[in-house]
């Protein structure tokens, strides 16, 4: 098997840490984003030498970040559910920067959340969102509009 040429991992951190943090902050809130960013790079570092395709490392990092955001959002939902059962959540559910809309973003299904963040926070076209998420342009469009529908319901309530 021909070995792919991988750049030194530090160059991935230098090039993408800031934008990944922005993606994560929009997905799960700024405090969780710090942890998620570290988790993203640790997972990436672990898998890196076995990577067989180095043509789109940025999209690869985004898929890992999306996974970490999904894990964090699940934890957050569980804690909130526990809170509703009369048990206090271990961390404050509301951060200063949070308002209803960002809590609603956090509660979206993973693909819709990522698609909405790529579309509106990064202002990407559907084709680029598709590339970033490794889905088709049409699927990107559907995820954005489904996500928006849910957000409208949540915010207008």
């Amino acid at each position: 098997m021909p070995r792919v040429r991988l750049p030194p991992f530090q160059t991935l951190i230098d090039a993408h840490a800031a934008e990944l943090h922005r993606f994560l902050a929009a997905s799960v809130g700024p405090t969780e984003a710090d942890d998620c960013l570290q988790e993203t790079f640790i997972s990436a570092l672990r898998a890196y030498p076995r990577l067989r395709d180095s043509s789109n490392l940025r999209a690869w990092l985004y898929t890992i970040a999306q996974r970490k955001a999904t894990d964090a959002a699940r934890r957050w939902k569980r804690q909130r559910a526990d809170g509703l059962d009369g048990v206090d959540p271990p961390v404050a559910a509301h951060e200063p920067a949070d308002d209803a809309i960002w809590l609603a973003v956090r509660a979206l299904p993973p693909k819709q959340r990522a698609a909405v963040v790529h579309r509106f926070v990064f202002d990407l076209a559907y084709r680029e969102i598709g590339e970033r998420m490794a889905i088709t342009e049409e699927a990107a469009r559907q995820n954005v509009s489904a996500g928006l529908r849910r957000l409208r319901l949540a915010v207008d309530r």
Partner: protein
């Protein structure tokens, strides 16, 4: 663009402390055994030197003439792509280099990782590593020490591609006739090191 979409364009922002994040990442990577190559650059009298360290030891010292990207890509190709800037991991090497340049150290006490040299070149460089401070020798003598007295040209090539200059003191190897010969970092640096050690031959 409606109100909802406008609000989505300004997410909760808090500038993260990227240096803290990076330091935390390095600590976690090291604990998890994922820091295969650590590097850092620091000043020296010979210009900024980049030091590369693996868990086995010092593997490479880079002179500033070589582009940093080239050095790091070479390490990614030949050692592991898990290359991270991690000054803490290179502290010990930096400290010994500083002491050497200040004239307070005559020999290095550092584990070396020889994986970037193979075969005859490796034998030549290991022999060179035993040449003490203040002593000079010849390409021919190093070829002989490596077991092939006639291969002094190959010995010269091996020394010219020494991945760990200064610590593996290829600057102590001169032409048989007394000429300085070449040097990875340029002859001016070779002169500087020999002068530091008090063994620069008189100009003739």
């Amino acid at each position: 663009m409606n109100d909802l979409e406008r609000r989505l364009a300004s997410p909760p922002a808090r500038t993260p402390h990227f240096e803290d994040l990076a330091a935390g990442l390095r600590r976690r990577a090291e604990r998890a055994g994922l820091l295969d190559v650590a590097y850092a650059t620091a000043d020296s009298p010979l210009g900024p030197l980049t030091v590369l360290v693996t868990p086995a030891g010092l593997v490479r010292i880079r002179y500033p003439d070589e582009p940093l990207e080239a050095t790091l890509q070479d390490a990614a190709d030949r050692i592991s792509p898990r290359v991270l800037e991690a000054p803490e991991r290179t502290d010990e090497v930096r400290r010994e280099l500083d002491e050497y340049f200040e004239g307070r150290r005559r020999s290095f006490d550092l584990p070396l990782d020889w994986r970037l040299v193979r075969g005859f070149a490796g034998d030549v460089l290991r022999a060179t590593a035993r040449v003490p401070f203040g002593v000079v020798t010849t390409y021919r003598a190093m070829a002989e020490a490596a077991g092939s007295p006639r291969a002094y040209r190959a010995a010269g090539n091996a020394l010219g591609s020494n991945p760990i200059p200064i610590v593996v003191p290829c600057h102590r190897v001169l032409h048989t006739g007394g000429g300085l010969g070449g040097y990875t970092g340029g002859v001016a640096r070779k002169e500087y090191l020999l002068e530091l050690e008090g063994s620069l031959p008189p100009r003739g």
